[in-house]
């Protein structure tokens, strides 16, 4: 029921788009959208219709900054149990990755859910357990939900959570790339609904469509964007009606608002983006690893950590170049030995490009 397939309908949508004879550039911000586009050959199909679609800063692991990576590594070196999602442990820092540190005997655990990290804290009462909380609005409510239920005192989080709409605004404000529309991330939108995107249409005249993840969802979303442009409209439309309600998930929004403040943070490849990060409110300071271990982490906060030498992930994340334009792609940088985070994460555009197209 949730796997939509209809060849005739797909061909009808493609024919409609081709009829319109356009030359447009869209951006999406979701690794799962990129996966659907490349795996199904939709990226080349759209190019044949005059439409280029690039992945912007839509991979939470990829936009995590070198400084945040160093924070994780330092906490592990100081004897904490560091828990996080699978891809995060492979992102290289200046000297190592969490995976390298695990091989050296430091206590790094991969978890499926923040719930698993709390269970580890309950089992290992003698240890400080830090959960590296990565993810956009889809993931942040899961962190909030757990903190609202008073996890054990030896549990804390290193918040690397970020929110999407300010990053989209940053892309437009920076003006490095001319875009004709945004394909908005379906799962982020299940939480935030439609309203947080509206200012991008009113202020910047951007057509936007919230899209699901089946090939037909993306075909339809692109046709809806093209139709808006053809009709000289700029509004937020929702293609992913089976999952996204216009108001979003209000319960999840409430949990996020109770636990987090929006703060200014850097994203990899970007300068500081105002109000784009989520940090714990003062009431939750005992669960904030940056407060709890301030003395240990503080020396890192004044330092500048550079991107890996030759790595162009920043430009990939800003939509300025394709993965294959990076000279390291497929040579020095491969999924088995990634240089930058876009090659690490299965949601990173370089990883996706390599898996499906690189011969």
């Amino acid at each position: 029921m949730f796997h939509l397939r209809d060849k005739k309908l797909a061909n009808d949508i493609i024919a409609k788009i081709k009829q319109m004879d356009v030359h447009l550039k869209f951006m999406h911000v979701c690794g799962t959208h990129q996966d659907t586009l490349v795996k199904n050959g939709l990226d080349t199909l759209f190019q044949s219709c005059g439409i280029t679609i690039g992945q912007g800063p839509g991979c939470p692991v990829c936009v995590t900054t070198p400084q945040e990576i160093e924070e994780m590594l330092l906490l592990a070196r100081k004897g904490k149990m560091v828990t996080t999602f699978g891809d995060m442990i492979r992102v290289p820092g200046e000297s190592a990755s969490l995976q390298h540190m695990h091989a050296e005997g430091y206590d790094i655990r991969t978890v499926y859910s923040i719930d698993d990290a709390v269970t580890l804290a309950r089992i290992h009462k003698e240890k400080e357990v830090v959960f590296v909380a990565v993810g956009f609005e889809t993931t942040a409510p899961t962190t909030a939900s757990v903190l609202l239920k008073h996890p054990p005192a030896n549990f804390s989080i290193l918040s690397c959570h970020r929110v999407i709409p300010p990053a989209l605004q940053a892309i437009l404000e920076m003006g490095e790339i001319k875009l004709d529309g945004f394909i908005e991330p379906g799962h982020v939108s299940t939480i935030i609904g439609m309203a947080p995107y509206e200012f991008l249409s009113t202020t910047y005249k951007m057509p936007q469509v919230i899209a699901g993840f089946e090939p037909l969802d993306l075909l339809m979303a692109v046709w809806m964007l093209v139709r808006q442009i053809y009709n000289k409209q700029a509004k937020v439309e929702n293609e992913y009606l089976r999952a996204v309600h216009s108001e979003g998930n209000v319960k999840a929004q409430r949990a996020m608002k109770t636990v987090f403040d929006c703060v200014d943070v850097k994203w990899r490849g970007f300068p500081t983006i105002p109000k784009s990060g989520l940090e714990l409110k003062k009431d939750f300071t005992s669960y904030n690893a940056r407060d709890k271990f301030e003395d240990e982490l503080k020396p890192l906060w004044d330092q500048d950590f550079s991107e890996p030498k030759g790595c162009r992930c920043g430009e990939v994340l800003r939509g300025l170049i394709s993965s294959q334009e990076c000279p390291l792609f497929g040579t020095a940088c491969q999924p088995s030995h990634p240089i930058g985070p876009c090659m690490v994460s299965i949601e990173g555009s370089c990883n996706i490009e390599y898996r499906y197209t690189w011969k």
Partner: protein, 85 residues
């Protein structure tokens, strides 16, 4: 390949709630092909039989079964309505 076990940062997968435990906080979710796994349902108001989107071990939204069944027809109607555009 079961993508449930890969990086769950953006990914969400639909499944059907087959059981809710006594605490009302956790449910058993059936993803088909014999895969069942526990999910935290504290962010949604779900009941047994609901389809939910599960992300990082949490149900983040209830899927609209009727809307899903009607999606393809809706797309066809939208294409027809946009005939002149």
């Amino acid at each position: 390949m079961c993508r449930l076990l890969f990086c769950p940062v953006c990914l969400a997968i639909p499944g059907k709630i087959v059981n809710i435990d006594a605490s009302k906080e956790y449910a058993t979710v059936d993803y088909g092909e014999g895969t069942q796994r526990k999910a935290n349902i504290s962010l949604v108001e779900a009941i047994v039989g609901d389809y939910v989107l599960v992300h990082a071990g949490f149900a983040i939204q209830i899927l609209d079964e009727k809307e899903a069944q009607e999606t393809l027809e809706l797309f066809r109607e939208m294409l027809r309505a946009g005939e002149g555009s």
